[in-house]
């Protein structure tokens, strides 16, 4: 479960459960039996709601991608991007802490040349403009579906 977190060694207690959970794909992909194998991507998830990030992880794995880490704050996102060098970052805009996902995406793009896809709920115009200014790879609407995610990642 090296792909779960930055400090996974502390979480030994969860290994048994998580092995089971990670082996399962999202309901939708299970039903269709589809596994995306064309171009596996290494993905960094930035999302502070674990129920959502678990769901996203499931969808990504079902599509054949690899989740390199999950970050819950902008700072964590930057440091994990630096360490893991993912192909793409799925970035939530609203994060706890002083900086938001737009700033994190900007810094990650600037410093490591890694693009971000913003995953967000309703966004007001001002935030949308700010987000567009950092030239993201795309926008995905919450809650994510397999279809949306596949479509969003297919352009890469």
């Amino acid at each position: 479960m090296s792909d779960m977190t930055a400090s996974e060694s502390q979480w030994a207690a969860a290994h048994v459960w998580f092995t089971t959970a990670a082996a399962l794909a999202d309901d939708a992909s299970l039903a269709h039996g589809e596994v995306e194998t064309a171009k596996p991507l290494r993905v960094l998830i930035v999302e502070d709601e674990f129920y959502i990030s678990l769901h996203t992880r499931g969808l990504l794995q079902a599509l054949g991608h690899v989740v390199v880490a999950v970050a819950v704050s902008a700072e964590q996102a930057v440091s994990l991007a630096e360490r893991e060098r993912p192909d793409v970052v799925l970035m939530d805009i609203r994060l706890s802490g002083t900086r938001d996902g737009i700033e994190a995406a900007d810094e990650i793009g600037e410093r490591f040349g890694i693009g971000s896809i913003f995953v967000t709920a309703n966004t007001d115009h001002q935030t949308r403009r700010r987000a567009e200014a950092v030239r993201p790879l795309g926008f995905l609407e919450k809650p994510l579906t397999e279809q949306r995610l596949r479509h969003g990642l297919s352009k890469l």
Binding site: T5, Q10, W11, A13, A14, V16, W17, F18, A21, L24, D26, D27, D48, E49, F50, Y51, I52, S53, L54, H55, G58, V70, V72, S73, Q76, R94, L95, S96, G97, A121, N122, T123, D124, K142, P143, L144
Partner: protein
């Protein structure tokens, strides 16, 4: 209250109307007082004029009497003339002419048969006509005393005259009557001699009611009768009275009967003159009232504008507030309007802030709702993965949704800023009806929304486990939750006691993943779960950045 009742019945009025009424209310009593004062002054002046009219009439009557007395004295002196005693008529004629000098009069001497023996108006020896007024001479003879005639036309002069006649006594006999014919113009001169103002008209009327003399238009009126009505009033009235003069003018008139002849001597002033003072007063008051009214109305208009302009501006400001526009406080001369617009300005700003806040909340709510749906979706899928049956899924999923709802409820009460940790713990245990078996210890800590959500997830899983397998599954079991803040970190502990004996589980479910890893990771902290025989012991350690110093001091996160 009466004022209110009155105002309720009256339709709304403009400010200037009320100001006009105010001006009227102020000035009318003063005007009324002025009118009364002027009225009194006019009355006094009128009384003075009446007194003067009476006085003039009385003075004239005295003058007439004096005139008649003078004539009498002349006649009585002539009656003792030695020339007459000698029947020297030519000498007496000369004597009589001398006595009259330039008086407008004539003296004649008549004998017992009323025949004129001489007349100073004619040269001595000229044949003379019979006298025009034999009755008076007869009365002189009959009474042996002086008699005054009414107005007659002189036999020689042909002019209107009044005669003063005295007897000439010789022994017991009255062989002659001596007559002085006083020209009516003599009385006219007497009247004119008073030197009164031009408005004054005086007159003498004889006992037949015939005008004997008049200070004005004498020639026109002499010999004409006084109108009967005027004559009657003149005879009976005491003091001054209002009447219509013989010339048809409304006058104030006083009549005095002269003592010797019994003639009516009158003095009149035109009523317009007598009442000039009153009229002046009336005019003055009328002018005063008009001026006051005009001034009051004008000032009411000016002051009304003074007030309505700022009020109109205030009304416009109020309308602007209604349209959600910003309003500048007015700087008018009217303090009240300024205060009103200042209040409106504040209200407009407040309204704008609220509008912005509402818009912000709406956006927040939309975002939260959608984000929360994503959370619920994830929650449903994770719950489904660990549920063996649909029944189990429904049970677990509804409990997790309920737990989420508890956390949301608390945050809703704090305007989505977060919640107090103590409240959060109680809420999640209350879901299992276990607050009486809960003991909490810790300082007041206000967690932000993200922390509330995540700590809430952990508390929910812990309470669910305690209810199913742990301390809350037996009657004696207790739960102690403590927390403290130290070194920029929060340490939260969940300790179960007196429940069933605990053994380490073979495999761990999703619940323990939540409390040991997922929540800790979301809060950038660490968690540890220990299975002691006396009960489980869970510890969560996370940075204090998730704590707000006071509710409302930080922006919402999620």
């Amino acid at each position: 209250m009466p004022a209110r009742l009155f105002l309720n019945r009256v339709p709304p009025q403009r400010i200037r109307t009320f100001l006009s009424l105010f001006a009227l209310a102020l000035t009318l009593p003063l005007l009324a007082l002025t009118a009364i004062a002027l009225q009194r002054m006019a009355s006094l002046e009128e009384a003075e004029i009446e007194r003067r009219v009476m006085q003039v009439a009385q003075d004239l009557a005295d003058d007439v009497d004096r005139e008649l007395e003078r004539a009498t004295i002349i006649l009585e002196t002539l009656a003792t003339s030695s020339a007459l005693a000698r029947s020297d008529y030519a000498g007496f004629h000369e004597q009589a002419r001398h006595a009259l000098r330039r008086d407008r009069a004539g003296i004649s001497l008549v004998d017992q048969s009323q025949r004129q023996l001489l007349n100073t108006r004619a040269e001595f020896g000229t044949p003379l006509p019979p006298i025009s007024d034999p009755q008076t001479a007869q009365r002189v003879v009959a009474s042996g005393q002086r008699q005054i005639s009414e107005l007659v036309v002189g036999a020689v002069s042909g002019e209107p005259v009044a005669n003063v006649e005295v007897p000439v006594l010789v022994g017991d006999q009255i062989p002659y009557v001596l007559i002085m014919a006083l020209d009516a113009t003599r009385f006219e001169n007497l009247l004119k001699g008073q030197r009164l103002e031009s408005q004054w008209i005086t007159g003498i009327t004889d006992n037949n009611g015939i005008i004997l003399a008049r200070s004005e238009r004498h020639a026109e009126f002499v010999g004409t009768p006084l109108p009967k009505e005027l004559l009657d009033v003149s005879r009976t009235a005491k003091g001054a009275f209002r009447a219509t003069s013989v010339a048809g003018m409304d006058v104030l008139r006083a009549t005095v009967r002269c003592r010797i002849a019994g003639w009516l001597v009158s003095a009149t002033v035109p009523l317009s003159y007598a009442e000039a003072s009153r009229k002046r007063g009336v005019n003055f008051v009328a002018a005063l009232i008009s001026t006051a009214m005009a001034l009051g109305a004008g000032l009411a208009y000016v002051f009304g504008r003074f007030m309505t302009r700022p009020l109109d501006a205030a009304t416009a400001a109020a309308a602007a507030v209604g349209l959600g526009k910003a309003v500048e406080p007015l700087k008018s001369p009217l303090v009240e309007a300024n205060a009103l617009t200042a209040a409106l300005s504040t209200a407009a700003a407040e309204l704008q802030l609220r509008h912005e806040h509402t818009a912000f909340l709406m956006r927040e709510l939309a975002h939260r709702a959608k984000n929360q749906l994503a959370v619920v979706k994830g929650m449903a899928l994770q719950t489904a993965r660990q549920s063996g049956t649909v029944k189990q899924f429904v049970e677990q999923f509804s409990q997790r949704i309920q737990g989420l709802a508890e956390s949301q409820d608390l945050m809703l009460r704090q305007n989505w800023q977060g919640a107090w940790l103590g409240d959060l713990i109680k809420a999640h245990l209350d879901l299992f009806g276990a607050t009486t078996r809960l003991e909490t210890r810790g300082p007041a800590l206000f967690l932000n929304a993200n922390a509330v959500q995540n700590v809430g997830f952990a508390l929910h899983e812990l309470a669910t486990n305690a209810h199913k397998h742990g301390a809350l599954s037996s009657p004696q079991g207790r739960v102690l939750v403590t927390w403290r803040e130290a070194g920029g970190r929060i340490e939260l502990e969940w300790i179960e006691r007196d429940g069933p004996r605990v053994q380490s589980p073979q495999a761990q479910g999703f619940g323990s993943l939540v409390i040991t890893e997922l929540v800790a990771q979301a809060l950038q902290g660490e968690a540890r779960l220990d299975y002691y025989p006396t009960g489980i012991h869970w510890r969560l350690d996370f940075p204090a950045i998730f704590v707000l110093t006071a509710p409302g001091s930080a922006t919402a996160t999620k």
